[in-house]
């Protein structure tokens, strides 16, 4: 337990230090959502209609952007070798790393979304619904991304390949995330239906992600 909390604490500390990159995702997210009203034009109802999709798309791309920091840096400097000789299961170690990664790159997106909702002419209720769906859905993006990060860990600058590998797997999360947000806003289907599926996707990825990532890392021992 000490080992895992040490790993979590160190990753959180690294993320906020110089060169930690905790801000990359959130800055990209802010940029993307800020320029969107300029691209869509001054049609406020249309902007509000597109709002959930824009925020979700921004969160998805921002998550992908930050993923190559999840394991690659530890691999480059040899930290991963030592994690393998620690007396903790590799599955739990990578899960702790993914949790730290979500806390530093995923959670800020959830917090920033309500502020950026103002730029997209979103009602407070709609903003709240999007924030809730992001809170439920972004862990899935990180834990699915963990698999891709483990697969591409040995490739230097494997960032784009990582995005290509991970993106198709995250499409269901995007679909049900936006569907749940729209359900809360328009009310055409009950909010619970897509939201429950979104939560299920997150729970599944939290289980599968670390297992698959550990297998990928062990296979890559060469």
């Amino acid at each position: 337990m000490t080992a895992l909390s040490a790993l979590l604490a160190r990753d959180l500390r690294l993320a906020v230090r110089v060169g930690g990159g905790a801000l990359i995702g959130i800055l990209f997210f802010t940029l993307l959502v800020t320029v969107m009203p300029f691209a869509v034009g001054p049609d406020l109802p249309q902007l509000a209609r597109l709002g959930p999709a824009i925020l979700w798309l921004g969160a998805l791309l921002a998550s992908l952007l930050a993923l190559d920091r999840l394991l690659a840096m530890d691999h480059e400097d040899g930290t991963l070798d030592l994690i393998l000789t620690a007396r903790v299961p590799l599955e739990l170690a990578v899960a702790a790393k993914a949790l730290a990664h979500w806390l530093t790159t995923g959670l800020p997106l959830v917090i920033a979304a309500p502020l950026l909702g103002l730029l997209l002419n979103l009602e407070p209720k709609a903003t709240a619904a999007i924030a809730v769906t992001l809170l439920a859905g972004t862990p899935a993006l990180t834990f699915i991304g963990l698999i891709g990060a483990a697969l591409t860990v040995a490739l230097r600058r494997g960032g784009l390949l990582l995005a290509i590998l991970v993106l198709p797997l995250t499409v269901p999360v995007l679909i049900f995330g936006v569907a749940a947000a729209n359900a809360a806003i328009a009310g055409s289907v009950p909010f619970g239906t897509p939201f429950t599926i979104l939560c299920a996707l997150t729970l599944i990825s939290i289980v599968i992600g670390p297992l698959a990532a550990a297998i990928a890392l062990r296979q890559g021992l060469e």
Binding site: T2, A6, D77, D81
Partner: protein
């Protein structure tokens, strides 16, 4: 009595056979010097023992160890990379390793002093020289007690004084019934250590020096 044995080990990397039929035995209180030219497979052998590579053939066995732990979990692996985070201070880096590898936090201050870095403990690792970084990595071996040390060319960036310090540490570990495998190009001041030559004479196996 702890004994680490490898028999008939074959390692293939990137489709090339690095070595084959390598065997060795190291007992508690013994050091094994793994020697050989570049590319002979010294690093690969140590990574194999550390569980970071899978042998194509052959087996590794540890007698008298903790049965619930793998060989890797009872070993320290000191590789070419120092596994230091540049933005963390020397003390934070070591504290993290101590916690991760299951050592006592109280010991890490003593370990820093033992490698002569206690004055630089607060300095981010990015400002440390290559030799100081290696010494910080070596501090890990002292801060966390593990019976098997796997050292891959540990002296490569160390100055003469630090090489002597490392040799003293290795001797102390061996005297404390530890097992040490060192990969090196040349002698590193360990008298009476067993030698394993990789390369052309790989199949000769162990021989006393």
């Amino acid at each position: 009595m702890m004994r680490l044995m490898g028999s008939d080990l074959t390692c293939v990397r990137g489709g090339r056979q690095v070595f084959s039929g390598v065997g060795f035995t190291v007992g508690a209180g013994e050091a094994l010097l793994v020697m050989g030219p570049n590319g002979a497979g010294k690093s690969s052998l140590l990574r194999l023992v550390a569980g970071l590579l899978r042998p194509q053939q052959g087996r590794l066995k540890l007698e008298g160890g903790d049965l619930e732990l793998t060989i890797a979990e009872q070993a320290h692996y000191l590789g070419h990379q120092d596994a230091l985070k540049p933005s963390l201070s020397a003390r934070e880096n070591l504290g993290f390793w101590t916690a991760l590898l299951g050592g006592e936090a109280a010991k890490s201050g003593h370990a820093l002093a033992a490698v002569g870095l206690d004055d630089l403990a607060h300095l981010p690792a990015i400002y440390l020289s290559a030799g100081q970084r290696r010494r910080l990595a070596i501090a890990r071996l002292i801060a966390v007690e593990r019976p098997i040390w796997l050292l891959d060319e540990p002296t490569s960036v160390l100055d003469v004084a630090a090489q002597a310090m490392l040799a003293d540490l290795i001797r102390a570990h061996v005297a404390g019934r530890g097992l040490v495998l060192v990969a090196s190009h040349g002698p590193i001041g360990l008298n009476g250590a067993k030698q394993l030559r990789l390369g052309q004479q790989a199949d000769q196996g162990t021989q006393p020096s």
